[in-house]
């Protein structure tokens, strides 16, 4: 017994992407699950009483900025990893929007090594599609792939020139890596962070047209369809985008898509009073868009819910709206917001939510994670589905201690996270 480390999770409700089992015991030895059964009887082990709690595979985030290298005053692998654990995530990806940008094998190597050394959760880098995310010259994807990137993406920047886009997509497609694309026509929107509509008029701000997103979605689909390239569209926010993707999937276009919690829980009105904490790109949209996003999640048009964690320090948020940075600290609220607004409201089942926040991301990125059963790594999240809690952003583990959800009452309080068998007890 001395060399092994045993943990028993007792009488939890296990929920995976395809099944729910009540009253199950799970036995973890070191990094692996060694038994799943009713009434496991064993002495001398750490016991977690999980009656009434949900035990789910660790969440996997497909859209996240960890700000290293270069912007570690905003977030680091260490603090980002701690925020992940607090939110039930056991694996993170990182966008290449760093300094230097992750657009060559040396930076990839740095991220992989440093991430491995200092972060409590697994970190999988994305490599840039174009050098410096400039939307012009192609990167050496082959070299980056050998060093460990799991996808290619230009982060929250879209390649504007159609000819360049076609060439970049064509080249990237031969590596069989997911191509993750942000959807924004910059001639109609330059990250204004406010939807073009009545709220923009009320506040005297220049707004981002919904069409700036759907135009880009249509363009990506047209190229991907004709050239038979697989694409993944990031943080979808409008009704029109959902409709375009739904129709494309019906035609058999090889694509997946993702949205983030703010697009099915908050509307554009949240930015009233120049609330920069709700300034995100794409911007918060209208009620109708929210409904369409939820419908898209229900019928599988939208495959994944990612956190869209984009941490900023307070100085770039506590300024005039037009100068404030886009993005929010989201890892620690992603699950509870999704659970409250989708599962508790009856739109999705808990299995579907696990599918969108863990199973599908693992599948799309070929991470071979999100498996639950004897012999598999113990990457788990355990949360209380019933009791309410009030979001207090000041207690975030992330360096960005602010959120548009601050002060809101949510359900889905995280209790424990296991990363490869290592237990983290969370007390918010």
């Amino acid at each position: 017994m001395s060399s092994t480390n045993l943990t028993l999770i007792r009488k939890g409700t296990i929920i995976t992407h395809d099944k729910t089992i009540h009253n199950m015991d799970i036995l973890i030895e070191n990094e692996k699950i060694i038994d799943v059964d009713t009434n496991i009887d064993i002495d001398q082990c750490d016991v977690i009483e999980a009656e009434g709690l949900y035990v789910i595979p660790g969440l996997i985030d497909m859209h996240c900025e960890l700000c290293e290298p270069g912007y570690d005053y905003r977030e680091s692998f260490e603090t980002g990893g701690q925020a992940a654990i607090a939110g039930g995530f056991t694996a993170l990806t990182c966008n290449p929007m760093t300094n230097p940008i992750i657009d060559n094998k040396t930076v990839v190597e740095y991220v992989v090594n440093k991430g491995h050394n200092v972060s409590p959760v697994a970190i999988y880098p994305y490599g840039a599609l174009t050098k410096g995310n400039q939307g012009e010259d192609m990167t050496e994807i082959g070299g980056m792939q050998l060093r460990g990137i799991v996808a290619v993406s230009d982060g929250d920047i879209s390649i504007q020139d159609s000819k360049t886009l076609k060439r970049v997509l064509q080249y990237a497609s031969m590596f069989e890596l997911p191509i993750i694309l942000h959807c924004e026509d910059h001639s109609l929107s330059k990250g204004y962070g406010v939807n073009d509509g009545y709220i923009a008029t009320q506040l005297g701000l220049e707004g981002s047209m919904a069409a700036s997103e759907s135009l880009m979605v249509a363009k990506y689909i047209a190229i991907a369809e004709e050239l038979r390239i697989r694409i993944h569209l990031a943080h979808i926010s409008t009704k029109e985008s959902v409709e375009l993707i739904r129709a494309a999937k019906r035609r058999g276009v090889r694509m997946t898509s993702e949205t983030s919690p703010q697009y099915f829980s908050l509307t554009e009105d949240t930015i009233d009073g120049y609330n920069t904490f709700a300034k995100v790109n794409p911007p918060l949209r209208k009620e109708d868009d929210m409904k369409a996003i939820i419908k898209g999640l229900q019928d599988g048009t939208i495959d994944v819910i990612s956190s869209d964690h984009q941490p900023h320090n307070i100085d770039s948020k506590a300024i005039e709206f037009s100068l404030a940075s886009n993005g929010m600290s989201a890892l620690e609220t992603a699950l509870s917001v999704s659970y409250t607004y989708l599962v508790k409201s009856g739109y999705l089942t808990m299995e579907q939510l696990v599918d969108k926040m863990s199973h599908k991301p693992s599948h799309i990125l070929s991470l071979n994670k999100s498996f639950f059963g004897v012999g598999h790594l113990a990457d788990l999240a355990i949360f209380d589905p019933e009791s309410d809690y009030v979001v207090d952003a000041r207690n975030f583990k992330s360096k960005a201690k602010h959120s548009p959800y601050h002060g809101m009452t949510l359900k889905g309080l995280m209790k424990y996270t296991f990363v490869e068998g290592k237990k983290y007890t969370l007390n918010i």
Binding site: Y198, L203, Y274, F321
Partner: protein
């Protein structure tokens, strides 16, 4: 006239003056009523300096050049015995830090009022979060210029006695005119009917949700109007053409005799100036006797005096000894 309209026992208790959008009809009536009183004093006792702001300091912080409106703020402050500091930064508005830093610095130096004109919408609202002084918005980005709108409203009130049921046609570039935006918010609250006309590229999105009606024919908007508010037009903004030419604009939107004949007989025509003569309004209307165009400026100082007076009472300045 009800109690509110007489401006009597309304509980106007606001620290900052940021916009008209968030004020109630009775707040606006109260402000206008105070301005009327100030105007009466101004006109009837020339040279009299009232003691209301004795010992207080007004700082004008203008991030955009403006002689007219700064002058009226400074005169208003002096008329009420306040000290005036002027900080105008002609340089191109500098990145992130400056507003909060400059603002809080001025605040710590003991300003009781900060009158701010800022190129970014919401700039004054942002500053208001960090200072003890009362912030007076003298125009922010594309958002509002509430005090200038009060001047227009005062003129309308003087001419028409009431806003209820009044039809006000606003013609021209509404998108980039923050005075017009303030006026729209206020007029609707005050019970006026507002009709807007201008090129589609210069009409803010979804503005009809305010209750205003949108027309693309100037004549249509002017039918039965009691007031025509004519706005300044510019061909392009930062190099992007918003209308094909002034010539085309003139054909479609110039206020001329024919168009004006569709309004009520006692219509008043207003323009914030400076006027592009013959483009926005035809010369014959500008020069016609009885036109109120030149009377607007007289109310400017009175409105600002009222603003200082009311916001002083409700808690402006605190570090002052």
């Amino acid at each position: 006239m009800n109690q509110e309209q007489r401006g009597e026992p309304v509980n106007y208790n606001k620290k900052h003056f940021l916009d008209l959008k968030s004020l109630s009809a009775s707040d606006i009536h109260y402000l206008l009523n105070s301005a009327q009183k100030m105007k009466y004093v101004l006109e009837n006792s020339k040279g009299y300096v009232a003691p209301h702001l004795k010992g207080k300091t007004v700082a004008t912080l203008f991030h955009e050049e403006s002689s007219r409106s700064r002058l009226s703020y400074e005169l208003a402050a002096q008329n009420l015995s306040a000290k005036v500091i002027n900080i105008t930064t002609a340089r191109e508005f500098n990145q992130k830090k400056s507003l909060k830093e400059v603002g809080t610095y001025v605040d710590k130096m003991g300003a009781d009022f900060i009158v701010i004109r800022h190129p970014i919408s919401g700039g004054p609202h942002h500053l208001a979060k960090y200072v003890k002084a009362s912030v007076i918005n003298a125009g922010d980005g594309l958002n509002e210029n509430p005090s200038e709108a009060l001047v227009d409203l005062l003129t309308i009130l003087e001419q028409k006695n009431s806003f209820t049921g009044l039809k006000v046609a606003i013609i021209g570039d509404i998108m980039y005119n923050r005075v017009a935006k303030s006026s729209i918010w206020a007029l609707i609250k005050l019970g006026a009917k507002v009709s807007l006309a201008g090129p589609t590229t210069l009409i803010p999105r979804d503005i009809e949700k305010t209750g205003a009606t949108i027309h693309h024919s100037a004549t249509e908007a002017i039918i039965d109007a009691d007031v025509v508010l004519c706005l300044k037009v510019q061909e392009d903004r930062r190099g992007i053409a918003l209308i094909p030419s002034l010539n085309e604009y003139k054909k479609l939107y110039k206020i001329n005799k024919t168009r004006l004949s569709y309004a009520k007989d006692d219509v008043i025509v207003m323009h914030p100036g400076p006027i592009n003569r013959g483009i926005e309004i035809s010369s014959s209307i500008i020069d016609k006797e009885g036109s109120v165009l030149d009377k607007q400026q007289g109310s400017g100082i009175a409105v600002r005096m009222a603003l200082f007076h009311l916001h002083c009472r409700s808690g402006g300045g605190s570090l002052h000894v």
